[in-house]
């Protein structure tokens, strides 16, 4: 039987955040009871589900105290160092809370206030001993040296060059000393200017200088430096609102407490993106979400959409926003209570920004939306934690929050004019790179649907694969594919034999090491280009070639890529004069699909390896595996 306190907490979590704010004390009381019985783990789970950037500073700090973050021995926590120009204690508490709510376990190191330069540059510093994966340089415009007001362009340029050199040296040190990814703030322009509007043009004015510095950073920061746009965040909050001088003078807080919530949430979103944990799919309801009215009652001509009414234009704007997300690589799907034919008719008969082609999955029926969302995730071969669900109906939102809590369900306001902000303010789809594959990802889903059609029409698998006319390109890791490789290494869960996460810096280093061979495979076929879909890192260990990393995008499963890659691996081993290939399977909750990967490829089991298994294949006895992939160009042995 569920305890009444547990039930109170669960009920609370089905509510929209605006309603949760006023009921927060009851929720907190229920959580404290849950922490006693059934226990702190349960209370932590519930508290993390409650975390939302629209809660206030006080509520989030209360949640932070309720949460017990214990080191999860199964997964190595991310080591995050926060080097602040100002006080970072509260910032770190909020950052930790938002990260935990996103399922990112982290341990933290904080430098003393204002000594971030020394920490980064000096050997033997606390930072050195900590060994960070990510360094958050939590600086702001108070950490910048400005030119004198009397400066001309030339003077200002030389101050800029000196300032730029200083930041570049810190980034360089983060890469070479720590192999860490850096999160670098842009600098917020202060809300007042002694030059007034003229400050934008005069090279000696802070406004002009900070704009130049921000532009320099955006252009020159190397790949291991991820930018966090503090300037944009402060402007969105309203620069006057952002900074609260009372708490700066009194407690050296970098911004007002409520702004600190935005700041912590925003930096957490960037770290979540670095870890490949950003959301991937926007699932949309139809009636009163993409248009006004009910298509089943009002008909295609009767719904409110487009010119003629402010409200109708609000729906157009929201569709445009969804379309822009689609163009950026966010997958769109529909989940609506409707007759499918009627729902489709709206897109066929009305000229709207979104068309049926934009949806990778179109689910319109009368079943409950929790089950439908699970089904959408399954069809897209993604976890439910990849989905965001936008629905105007609070009852539907409540059901989904209750029964599929991993799905993010933002509160949509009554007025469609507020829909974009309601979705955008959560930073669900934050990204740290944009590759060709991202822009075209949405097409892969459509092409995949076509391929499965073809498969059902083909008599046997071989014939089907042949009919695809697949071509593969094999290349080592290089500057042009590093971003995509790092993305796959940090994101792939299912087809991933060892799930070793590495930063771009670490991957670059490994690619340059003569003991290592890196392979990347890009695949195209007559239906479309799949982009870079497989990454393999091989390490020579005495007479063996050890497969340290072997991962593949699930969208090319059962296409013979595994067989193709094995032949490539054995070729590398033979070229290097090695006698065997060794593979490791390290199980995680998500990669069960590759448990028998090596067995299927003819490896012999060589015993246990941690929780998993070790496999071996003699190079001499390997017969090239049959596949239907033409290798277009191979520069791996160059």
């Amino acid at each position: 039987m569920t305890s009444p306190d547990l039930e109170t907490a669960e009920q609370h979590l089905t509510l929209d955040v605006s309603a949760r704010k006023s009921a927060f004390r009851d929720f907190r009381r229920a959580l404290r009871a849950v922490a006693r019985d059934p226990g702190p783990d349960e209370a932590t789970r519930l508290a993390l589900r409650a975390v939302d950037p629209d809660l206030g500073y006080t509520e989030l700090m209360a949640l932070r105290r309720l949460v017990r973050l214990e080191e999860d021995s199964a997964s190595k926590p991310l080591r995050v160092a926060v080097l602040g120009g100002a006080t970072t204690i509260q910032f770190v508490q909020l950052l930790e809370l938002f990260l935990a709510a996103h399922g990112v376990a982290a341990t933290f190191y904080e430098s003393e206030y204002g000594v971030f330069r020394q920490e980064l540059l000096m050997p033997g510093s606390g930072l050195d001993r900590f060994g960070p994966d990510v360094i958050v340089v939590a600086t702001d415009s108070r950490d910048v040296s400005f030119p004198a007001f009397t400066s001309d362009v030339k003077d200002a340029e030389s101050v800029l060059a000196r300032e730029a050199e200083g930041w570049a040296a810190l980034w360089e040190s983060a890469a070479t000393r720590h192999g860490a990814t850096v999160i670098q703030n842009t600098f917020e322009v202060p809300p007042w200017s002694v030059f007034g509007n003229f400050g934008l043009r005069h090279p000696g004015a802070p406004q002009n200088f900070l704009n130049r510095l921000n532009a320099w950073i955006a252009e020159h920061a190397p790949p291991h430096v991820v930018l966090h746009d503090l300037q944009a965040l402060a402007s969105r909050a309203g620069e006057r609102e952002w900074f609260d001088p009372r708490f700066y003078h009194e407690a050296k807080m970098p911004c007002g407490p409520e702004s600190l919530v935005e700041y912590g949430h925003s930096v957490a979103s960037v770290i979540v993106a670095i870890r490949g944990r950003s959301r991937k799919v926007l699932v949309l309801d139809l009636d009163n979400t993409l248009w006004g009215g009910v298509i089943g009652d009002d008909g295609p001509e009767g719904i409110v959409y487009g010119q003629g009414s402010g409200e109708g234009e609000g729906y157009v704007a929201f569709q445009r926003y969804a379309k822009a997300l689609y163009d950026r690589g966010v997958v769109l799907a529909v989940c609506s209570k409707n007759d499918e034919a009627v729902a489709r008719e709206a897109f066929e008969k009305r000229d709207m920004v979104l068309g049926l082609d934009h949806f990778a999955c179109f689910v319109a029926n009368w079943q409950n939306k929790a089950d439908n969302l699970r089904q959408i995730a399954e069809r897209l071969d993604l976890g439910t934690d990849s989905l965001v669900f936008a629905d105007d109906n609070p009852a539907e939102r409540a059901i989904v929050r209750r029964y599929v809590p991993e799905v993010a369900v933002p509160e949509l306001p009554d007025d469609p004019a507020g829909y974009i902000r309601a979705v955008a303010r959560h930073h669900y789809f934050e990204t740290v790179s944009f590759t060709r594959e991202d822009g075209e990802r949405v097409h892969y889903y459509a092409a995949n649907a076509k391929r499965s059609e073809l498969l059902s029409a083909s008599v046997d698998l071989g014939e089907f694969l042949q009919s695809l006319e697949m071509k593969a390109t094999v290349e080592p890791v290089c500057a042009t594919n590093l971003a995509r490789v790092a993305q796959l290494v940090n994101k792939s869960n299912q087809f991933n034999l060892t799930t070793k996460r590495r930063t771009a810096v670490e991957i670059e280093k490994l690619a340059a090491d003569p003991d290592w061979t890196t392979l990347t495979v890009s695949l195209s076929d007559r239906l479309g280009d799949n982009g870079l879909i497989s990454v393999i890192f091989l390490q020579r260990q005495e007479e063996a070639l050890v497969v340290d990393t072997w991962l593949m995008s699930c969208r090319v499963l059962l296409r013979g890529v595994e067989e193709f890659v094995l032949n490539e691996i054995v070729e590398v081993a033979a070229d290097r004069g090695l006698v065997r290939v060794e593979g490791i399977y390290a199980p995680t909750p998500r990669n069960g699909m590759v448990a028998d990967h090596y067995e299927k490829l003819g490896f012999e089991c060589a015993g246990e390896e941690g929780d998993g298994s070790r496999w071996t294949l003699a190079v001499a006895s390997h017969e090239p595996r049959e596949h239907f992939i033409l290798c277009e160009r191979s520069s791996i042995h160059a």
Binding site: T58, Q90, E250, M253
Partner: protein
């Protein structure tokens, strides 16, 4: 007023048993450090819709200041806001 203030103290110091009284000072509450002080100010400002000046924020922990003087200050600000 006293009940609401007490609730804010309980929220901030995470102690549902906490009983505040006029003569209580910051030194008597074990967790009342500079960090929690900021959190208390933020929570009181949000609860009562008031705003403290910088000197009032730091002054709260000074000698001669206690929960009674704090409550009086809040009441004065609430009155000033409602113009009565």
């Amino acid at each position: 007023m006293r009940d609401r203030l007490q609730q804010v103290f309980r929220d901030v110091f995470d102690d549902d048993e906490l009983e505040i009284h006029d003569a209580m000072t910051a030194a008597e509450v074990p967790d009342w450090d500079s960090l929690q002080h900021v959190n208390l100010i933020v929570a009181v400002e949000a609860e009562f819709g008031v705003r403290f000046a910088t000197a009032e924020i730091s002054g709260l922990k000074a000698d001669g200041q206690n929960v009674g003087t704090f409550q009086a200050l809040i009441e004065q600000k609430v009155r000033a806001r409602s113009g009565s």
